[in-house]
Symmetry: D2
Subunit: 265 residues, 4 copies
């Protein structure tokens, strides 16, 4: 990411591979800046690794690169995973039933029950939500808007992966299914060409049968090579870069290249 | 309608039977006030009969009563009525394709085409809109809110007849079907008991095959004894009473009693 | 205006000088299209001259050009113009007190009275509204959004001339001052350079002392060479071009060149 | 609180005095239910004490009562408390700069800087925000709405203590001042009669000069006898009762009675 900054600007960056994948790192996953500035690491209340920097005025480049071992397996799937009654949910999961900035469950509750109340609780109800969102929303970068919420996405029926995810999360929470927002990389491996330019991606995890499962309403399919960076209630919690001042993102590039085992040595 | 007014208050009233039913009036349809105040009549830009009064402070009663001949026939229906291409629509109908205060067609366009674009154009597309709205929205006076728009109704899935109508109108306009908002009375004749307390009602008219047709997404059925008071783009145009000052509506009562032909003499 | 159209597209155009300036036209103010297509003229319910065309697929150019006599006088001003009580307003003016698509008076009423209730009614109250809007909103084409309303503009504090105008209109109507939306040209004559690229402009008219007066919250100043095209409740009523189908506006150019009296012969 | 429940209903309750006041409790601060049901305690991610119960169908009463020592001192105040630059803020405070469900900082940023950017940073800027909110918003229980956000409150200019607080929090965060939402009790001690019926209250804490300070935009004054129950990003985090099912709150009563030291033995 190349920034053009009018003045010294404090930034918070959430660009590193999530701790849950730390054991898969073949090379250290460090953040580099140009010019070099001190980097302070901390963990947010969702356990994500964040970095704080004071970026100087002018051109400022932030980058990171790593080699990561991947199972090559698609997202796990278990259509028999059951929905836990609210009273059976662990306490630390309850926060993912609440409304959040981009997921207005307090508004969408009646909508959710009308449309999905007749679906079988559990995996198939979540899948029904994803099928609806995937079909309802038209993808397009031109449709990107920083303030778009789940309600907006439902109404406007357009958006990017972030919007698909917010709408699906909001609907799941309305249905008493804990749902959280994830950002990270998804590789193209196994996808038919043409491959669009790489970008960070967003998906969700829902809590069924006592564990979290990946659902991806944007692609609405299992994928290989999904690398988590951060998790939170919604995009407000996991911005990959937060700048406290005027800034221009002059360049932005994301890459994932598959390497056969052993190749990189 | 009985008002309690803190001060002298200018009011605009749209309570009279619409001119299109003037020939059916057996008794004059005059407005009465208590205390008696001068009443000025005018016609708004949609052709509705309106009255202006300066209501005095204190208790103020507005009433009107009439005997009206009715065909006893249900709302006309023609499932073969075709949708005219935009270029074939008369010019004076085009205004009913535009967005208005409570019908945000500019927001709902993608939604409408996603959900109803595959329906057969014409009568059955309008009926599909009404079926959706009727099923999607839960009725309840507790859900009444003066600022609720079509978008709000879609999201919250609750409302009163006004909200059903706004949502259906917005969706029709998105689909290039002119639609306008109607207020008036609907009798209970032929409806199974229990009969709820009478109120004014709202429905819509859509332009198909060269003429306007009644559709009633709240009841989603043809009805007997529908008496029009006013028509406009949405509820903003046809408030039955508009008060320019603090006011409390202390009592409000609407009645329709069927009289057999000849009975009233 | 040069369009690229994927298919035959019905269009409604409101590009001609308003009838109130007809006597000032030195050359006829006709619409031209390339390719040439039949043009049907009609008048909308606000008295604006509109044209309907069926544009063919492909490149489609719409243009108009005229020579207009102008007084060279700035917008009339009368700071003694008084605000009429609602009961004194002519009936045909009342519609400009109602909420409309982009002017949610039903939401902003309390806001308006809090902020402007202490201002002297009449001209200075309207001027206070314009001063506030002019100062509160930051101008920028990047901030343009077709669905932005007066409420959005108040919150986001950014916008284009259309947004300034909607916010000022909504606030005036809340204060029982009739206000209507105007589109047209404004010349640069007498303005200090640099002159930005020409565009259509929006301003409002408010009803004080028995007549309509121009106020321009975007520029917040009187101007010379204002040429009206259309008037309505808000931008929904006076779109300069309305296309019923997919379209791309490939080029758009507006010009006003001052000509000394006699020069053009 | 007396509930009427149609069915067995899981509930989450946040009704206990906050841990930060634990040392002031003269009597244990336990939750009681009628009928008696098992109560499970847990701590949410903001450190609040919460209880989970499975309420039976029918009438269900939840209550708690305690004697608490209070300093009798008003809220601490230090008008010299300085605003820390973002880069100087502790990491765990940064989450209170982010947008949340009812505090749309992403929308209100320009508004906040326009209105308060010229105020002296630090205590007086926060006070300016509180003065504005206190004056701008009209209080009334009739104006209560579960979905009202800071943006709604700004526009509608009405609300209850929750709404005042959300608007003030949103504006502070826009100005890079961390702000969090607090719920609890406020006593009437020292307030002039008449005393309104007791209710839970909401206020905010802002981070200045390295610590959190109480600001109360609803009352806009220091108060004696403020007892904290919960803290979070906004009301979504600290609902005093969250019911996962249909419920009716039949009765609700809050009390605070001052006891002189020693009286209660």
């Amino acid at each position: 990411m190349t920034y053009k900054l009018a003045a010294r600007t404090p930034m918070i960056l959430m660009l590193q591979v999530h701790d849950s994948r730390a054991r898969d790192l073949e090379t250290p996953n460090l953040l580099a800046t140009d010019p070099i500035v001190p980097i302070e690491s901390f963990r947010d209340c969702f356990g994500n690794s964040c970095c704080r920097v004071m970026a100087p005025a002018g051109k400022f480049v932030v980058s990171t690169d790593s080699i990561l071992r991947d199972s090559g397996q698609p997202d796990p799937k278990d259509v028999t995973a059951r929905q836990l009654a609210v009273e059976k949910l662990p306490s630390d999961v309850l926060t993912f039933l609440l409304p959040s900035r981009y997921c207005e469950t307090d508004i969408l509750s009646a909508y959710a029950w009308k449309c999905f109340g007749n679906e079988e609780p559990g995996w198939s109800r979540v899948q029904a939500v994803c099928d609806f969102v995937h079909k309802h929303v038209s993808f397009g970068y031109a449709y990107s808007r920083a303030t778009r919420t789940a309600v907006d996405t439902l109404n406007e029926a357009v958006g990017v992966c972030r919007d698909y995810t917010h709408l699906a999360i909001a609907l799941c929470r309305c249905l008493n299914i804990p749902a959280r927002y994830c950002t990270g990389y998804i590789s193209d491996v196994g996808q038919p060409p043409p491959h669009p330019e790489m970008d960070f991606s967003a998906w969700m995890e829902v809590y069924l049968g006592g564990q979290w499962w990946v659902f991806d309403p944007r692609n609405n399919d299992v994928r290989v090579g999904r690398v988590l960076m951060g998790r939170g209630r919604d995009a407000a919690d996991v911005a990959f870069a937060l700048s406290f001042g005027q800034h221009e993102l002059a360049e932005f590039r994301v890459w994932i290249d598959p390497i056969e085992a052993g190749d990189h040595r």
